[in-house]
């Protein structure tokens, strides 16, 4: 768990909630991500405008490089070969590609208003980016650094969670307070889930892939959505401004084909 104000990571046993250890001097870790091969840990310093890259050997994190990256790096996604990390820069409206081995920015491109969450489609074909300052998901051909399509969702498209069915990914629309389901083959919005509490943010999927759990960032609750009916069936009061959500007994991060 990343503590962006305390500047450290807390390693917790997900089954018992016991704190196993602390990792200090991880500065301003707004988001953290491991590369697919688990050899790199990357943290975005939203407040400090930089990216920190660490070697990870399964237990220890040793700093590989810190690089300035403005303005407001927030979310990330990795290429499946673990060579590149893509980072959205919220305030400058850009997407940056960073080479992990050299910790250098390879390129930056403008994508739109307040890009946030990213999702890599199967075969690393496209990057989907939630445009939180607009009402769509941008489809980016990252190899050619071009926005090739936009998928209308709802205001404040923010973050993604694969439905692990080989085809669909959910995106939260934090301003509209809806969740859109995107077909990764046709790159279209195939339906919205409405009737939610304010500010759906991060999402998690149950092991049986039936229930989508979501944090309501502006409503101090989390919600459980039955995906067969696409209805919110339960809410649970939690603390202030819930953000990330995870349970150990979850559906895989992606389907086997990467969707």
């Amino acid at each position: 768990m990343a503590n962006s104000v305390s500047n450290n990571l807390m390693l917790v046993d997900p089954k018992t909630g016991q704190v196993q250890r602390w990792v200090e001097n991880i500065e301003d870790p707004y988001q953290i991500g491991f590369s697919p091969d688990h050899k790199w840990l990357v943290t975005t310093g939203l407040r400090l405008n930089r990216l920190d890259i660490y070697h990870y050997d399964g237990h220890n994190m040793t700093l590989a490089g810190r690089l300035p990256l403005a303005v407001m790096p927030s979310h990330m996604a990795f290429s499946n070969d673990s060579k590149t990390v893509f980072v959205t820069l919220q305030v400058s409206g850009e997407l940056a590609a960073v080479d992990l081995a050299t910790q250098q920015v390879k390129w930056k491109m403008k994508v739109g208003k307040v890009p946030a969450g990213l999702w890599m489609t199967p075969g690393d074909k496209y990057l989907l980016i939630g445009m939180t300052g607009a009402d769509y998901v941008a489809v980016v051909d990252w190899r050619n650094q071009k926005v090739v399509k936009t998928i209308q969702t709802g205001k404040g498209a923010h973050n993604f969670r694969s439905l692990a069915d080989g085809r669909h990914v959910a995106v939260s629309n934090r301003v509209a307070s809806t969740i859109s389901i995107i077909d990764e083959e046709s790159l279209t919005n195939v339906g919205d889930i409405t009737g939610l509490m304010p500010g759906p943010d991060d999402m998690e999927l149950s092991a049986d892939k039936r229930y989508l759990w979501v944090t309501f960032r502006f409503a101090k609750h989390i919600g459980i959505i039955d995906l067969t009916t696409r209805k919110l069936i339960q809410t649970i009061a939690v603390g202030r401004s819930p953000h990330g959500i995870y349970f150990f007994d979850r559906a895989p991060v992606t389907a086997p084909n990467g969707a």
Binding site: S6, T132, R217, R240
Partner: protein, 331 residues
């Protein structure tokens, strides 16, 4: 019991925060292309709502006491009104908003620069994991450090002439009341914000999440300035700054002259005055203000006059290069 009250208040404030944010603030952010700051804005709304509640609570609690047990009886409260404006500016977070956009990026850049060179800060929370991770313990540590820093900032305000001229806006109030705590020159507020932001670079970011406890220290400072005949007893006076203790600091001829250019500089705790020999335990109620006001010097009645005249006084000091009065050192 305390936990239940805090929990209920937190629920209330959070509900108002959600309603305000979703229905009013977020649509404006979206409309004007400011969604990059949405999370910070949402978080800061909590403070704004607490600020409004603080003002309502301090008025409800202290105004009746000012009516029942005043130190001074006034013909009218005209001179108090401008302090109400200062208070709303502070409590509605307008100063914080300005600081966030104007100065916070600089301090974040300095922190980034320091960390890129592996210069780390002292992380209070994890000095003693298990103990210092307890919220109350961490809060008390921060209170001690920041109150200590506040004491020395205040000593500086009285020691350095041009700085005194800014702080004189606060001391020029001759009808000190529950509203006076936030009566400060905006430049002085800015300086203070920079001072504490610099400290945050060393000890880490102060615990903005301890809203209730910070609100209580704000309330304590409102009590200190209130026009209420109140002292905390021999022991209480030595634990917390009381209205009597702080009124001494504002007293003409006693509070801001002498070898240390005054006495009773403590913000929430009188301990630093006790430690550094600047405490006065006299309970005699004296008029507040600055000596040269008795000789006709005008520090301004309105908000802008008070601000402008401070700059005029600074310019005069710099031109003269000698102390015009006993209130602070020459420059």
């Amino acid at each position: 019991m305390f936990h239940l009250i805090v929990s209920a208040l937190d629920s209330f404030v959070s509900t108002v925060q959600t309603l305000l944010y979703v229905n009013l603030v977020q649509p404006l952010l979206f409309r004007f292309g400011l969604m990059g700051y949405d999370e910070d804005t949402y978080d800061s709304l909590y403070w704004v709502i607490v600020g409004v509640l603080e003002v309502l609570a301090m008025y409800a609690l202290l105004r009746p006491l000012e009516a029942l047990r005043p130190v001074e009886r006034w013909d009218d409260r005209k001179a108090v009104r401008v302090d109400v404006l200062y208070t709303w500016i502070a409590k509605l977070g307008i100063l914080n908003l300005f600081f966030f956009f104007a100065l916070q990026p600089f301090f974040d850049a300095v922190q980034g620069w320091l960390r890129l060179r592996d210069i780390s800060n002292i992380n209070f929370d994890n000095l003693w994991p298990g103990v210092t991770t307890q919220p109350l313990v961490t809060f008390l540590m921060y209170l001690l450090v920041l109150d200590f820093a506040g004491y020395w900032y205040h000593r500086g305000q009285h020691r350095i002439g041009i700085w005194w001229e800014l702080h004189a806006v606060h001391h020029s109030q001759r009808q000190m009341s529950l509203w006076t705590d936030d009566r400060n020159h905006l430049l002085d507020d800015l300086l203070q914000a920079c001072f504490f932001a610099a400290i945050a670079l060393v000890i880490g970011v102060p615990p903005a999440q301890y809203v209730v406890l910070v609100a209580l220290t704000n309330l304590a400072q409102s009590v200190q300035h209130a026009n209420i005949r109140l002292h905390f007893g021999w022991l209480g006076e030595r634990l917390l700054v009381s209205p009597t203790f702080h009124r001494r600091h504002h007293a003409i001829g006693y509070g801001h002259e002498g070898l240390k250019y005054g006495c009773n500089f403590g913000v929430v705790l009188p301990w630093w005055d006790m430690l550094f020999g600047s405490a006065s335990w006299s309970r005699v109620m004296e008029p507040t203000g600055i000596r040269d006001q008795l000789e006709g010097n005008d520090y301004g009645q309105g908000f802008w006059a008070q601000h402008w005249l401070a700059l005029v006084r600074i310019a005069r000091r710099l031109a003269r290069r000698r102390a015009p009065a006993k209130d602070a050192a020459a420059i």
